[in-house]
Symmetry: C2
Subunit: 457 residues, 2 copies
């Protein structure tokens, strides 16, 4: 079972096996979904896409008709037909298979396991719903037309189709950069550990997000995770923390959701950072994919509005970080250059601050040895700040590659306007100081994990 | 000091007193800001707007020149000139004044207090920055052109200009309905209690949001709040919970931020619901402004995706609510009508659910005596659901005016598409199950507060 799953993400040729006739709603088999996957693959995939329509009389009706052997096959048929196709693919010598549809019974899942063992093929799923994406080679087996995140450093492993679809939609809509995205489904063969091992050495991936409801082989999972987190952080969202929801999770993806306390202990042992919800998962991952780790816990807040800066200070403290005490030199230089600005942390640059004042103050604050990281707040409404002024923050941040900087463009419309500039840069932006504080805290937590695990061999 | 502040919100005529020449950046005095307030008032205000430019040679240069006495004056000048105008307005007989700009020294604030006492005028501010809004009569003293929330049941009291501007921008951008919006500033005269007393009897207001950094006269505040919460809920966000941030709050709005523990105790005694951040404040307020209270703690979750429903179940439990156990009758009716749907809570309607299935199942669930409230989840991506299908939820919810229903349109783009339909309806929508659970919890908490306070006279 330790066979390489490289071709799950990096195949040169992919067979899409489905039907333009069979419709089976509950399990998500339909001619439209088949057409949509074909559309996405032909649009995005840089390798060869081969369409196998088992009902076809003109195109390929079976992989046996192909002159070459595809490196990956994606099967979108009801359970019975899928199992037939798995057999045919295995006979043909295809080594990695993705099973999109759900509705499998226990004995059908057992059958799949048998085939996988017998032929040494690797199977993702069944019930993966959206399958797999790789933003480098354009592999995209989702059936939502044109749904493709931009390339970036975040890998996502989702056990649930629904949570995965939520995260994928959120990532696309908010321009969050993704490396790989994989929907695990029922995990009859390929499991989180296989994917973690692959992602550990994937140069595109800077941070790994996992949504899981249950885990088998807990000890092995912890061991694998411990190896991964020496190289890159793992963030986990666990679903099914209550008895009732755990019961639901069981019927949903056929896994056994363990006790929440056991998971907490396991995550801690594995060096995995646990997050509370889907938004925090992607926010935190964004910070990891764009910014350095936080090497100390002293944060400076630089803002053009008072109230939100006070809420930011509260959030910093609540999340176990500290408000930095600026050095005498920094204070004096800020106050002599900017009359009216009182250089105590949080620093209120006052409503008329524009790029130049932010740039000068941030430069001083980031060079201050008493400061480990910075949260910037900028508001447009009731202030003189303009969206393009945030470029000053991007510029100064680059001068200090060892200290993380996160930004909070305050408000609704204001956030959207500033985010339109920042989303293409290395500065993560969040619409609440509390979200930025949580992201900074994770950058700190992982720094500590890495220190501990690296010395602990 | 108990004089009526009705004309702060409901004046028939308003004098805008500023200058087209004086510019004083730090305190926010500028000809442009003056012009912007004039623009907003002329555009939105249904009463009479009188412009008084103290530098003018053609228009009014003083309220003394006016043949009538305005019911409200808004002064946008630096401290020294503002105090002069306050005197002139008081002499003229204007009874309510709003002081927009900041930068006042202690002795200047004392001077304002003296004038207020001597003439029996009421003063809002100084340092209110954005002043006051009333969505019924169009009163809008903000200097952001065209910034006007839609009419609705949420009143906001913000001590901070920045937090107020954040909340106002968020409300406008997300189409959240506001009744009154007031920026308190330095509170030399009109304070939170005055506004609370007014809002208690304001028929437009269904829920009151307060952002505060400090409070004076704590005992009186608690007494006033206790009276208000017998009629409508008060939600509070407190800034300055740490020693450092409290210090900052002091220099920011000249108030003394008390200890966080004392505030917690005071809020509890006052029957005020404390929220953790600005987003939670508006989310929770939206739920109160649109839905009935939660009379029990048993929540049903109705979803078309499994994973997010499990996270919703987790969030319900984490927030101290319970997952409802559906009655045998409800279960049987759902399962017989919708093959493949297993009617245990959270109910997964499966990916092909559209309006008709939601409508039928919600009707059964809301009529179930074992259910006190419902969280609905709907995803578009990877599902058959269409944005317009949410109208079924709106329709069925109206049949059960005693049970709250909140909706979670899952994802990024998907949320935006569904929210575009829901924002005009009585169904509150949130982009995460955790946010919906917090809103439901607040509907429950206030129900308990109301029960307790009403029996406790």
């Amino acid at each position: 079972m330790s066979m390489d799953i490289k071709n799950l993400f990096e195949p040169k040729s992919v067979a899409l096996i489905g039907s333009t006739k069979i419709r089976e709603k509950v399990g998500m088999t339909s001619p439209e979904l088949f057409e949509n996957v074909i559309y996405n693959m032909k649009k995005f995939f840089k390798g060869e896409t081969i369409v196998v329509d088992i009902e076809s009389k003109k195109e390929y009706a079976s992989v046996t008709e192909l002159s070459t052997t595809p490196e990956l096959a994606v099967i979108m048929l009801p359970p019975k037909e899928s199992i037939e196709q798995v057999n045919i693919c295995a006979e043909k010598g295809i080594k990695v298979l993705v099973l999109i549809t759900g509705g499998y019974k226990d004995n059908q899942r057992e059958k799949l396991k048998e085939i996988a063992l017998e032929y040494g093929v690797r199977i993702l799923g069944p019930n993966t719903i959206m399958g797999v994406l790789n933003t480098v080679n354009g592999l995209n087996t989702t059936f939502e037309r044109d749904l493709m995140p931009k390339n970036g450093g975040i890998a996502v492993i989702s056990q649930s189709g629904g949570v995965g679809a939520y995260l994928l939609d959120w990532a696309c809509y908010n321009n969050i950069g993704v490396s790989k995205f994989v929907f695990m489904g029922d995990k009859i063969d390929i499991n989180d550990m296989d994917v973690l091992r692959y992602l550990k050495d994937d140069e595109e991936t800077r941070v790994i997000c996992i949504y899981m409801e249950g885990i088998e082989k807990g000890r092995e999972f912890i061991e694998v995770a411990r190896e991964v987190v020496k190289k890159k952080p793992i963030l986990a969202l666990k679903g099914g923390i209550t008895e009732e929801s755990a019961l639901r999770a069981k019927s949903h993806t056929a896994s056994i959701a363990g006790s929440d306390i056991i998971f907490n202990a396991a995550f801690k042992k594995a060096g995995i950072i646990r997050v509370a919800d889907m938004e925090e998962l992607l926010n935190t991952a964004t910070a990891f994919s764009k910014q350095p780790l936080l090497k100390g816990d002293r944060i400076a807040i630089v803002s053009n509005v008072g109230g939100p800066a006070i809420l930011a200070a509260d959030a910093i403290t609540r999340n176990g970080l500290k408000l930095a005490t600026l050095s005498e030199r920094t204070r004096k230089e800020i106050e002599s250059r900017h009359p009216g600005v009182e250089a105590i942390n949080p620093i209120d640059l006052i409503a008329d601050a524009r790029a130049e004042r932010y740039e000068h103050v941030l430069d001083l604050v980031l060079s201050d040895p008493n400061v480990d990281g910075v949260m910037v707040i900028n508001m447009l409404k009731s202030c003189f700040f303009k969206p393009e002024d945030v470029r000053a923050i991007v510029k100064i941040s680059k001068k200090y590659p060892e200290k993380p900087v996160v930004d909070v463009p305050a408000g609704g419309e204001d956030f959207a306007k500033v985010y339109a500039v920042l989303k293409e840069t290395e500065i993560p932006a969040f619409n609440l100081p509390e979200k930025a504080a949580k992201a900074l805290k994770a950058l700190r937590t992982y720094y500590e994990i890495k220190q501990k695990f690296s010395s602990n061999y």
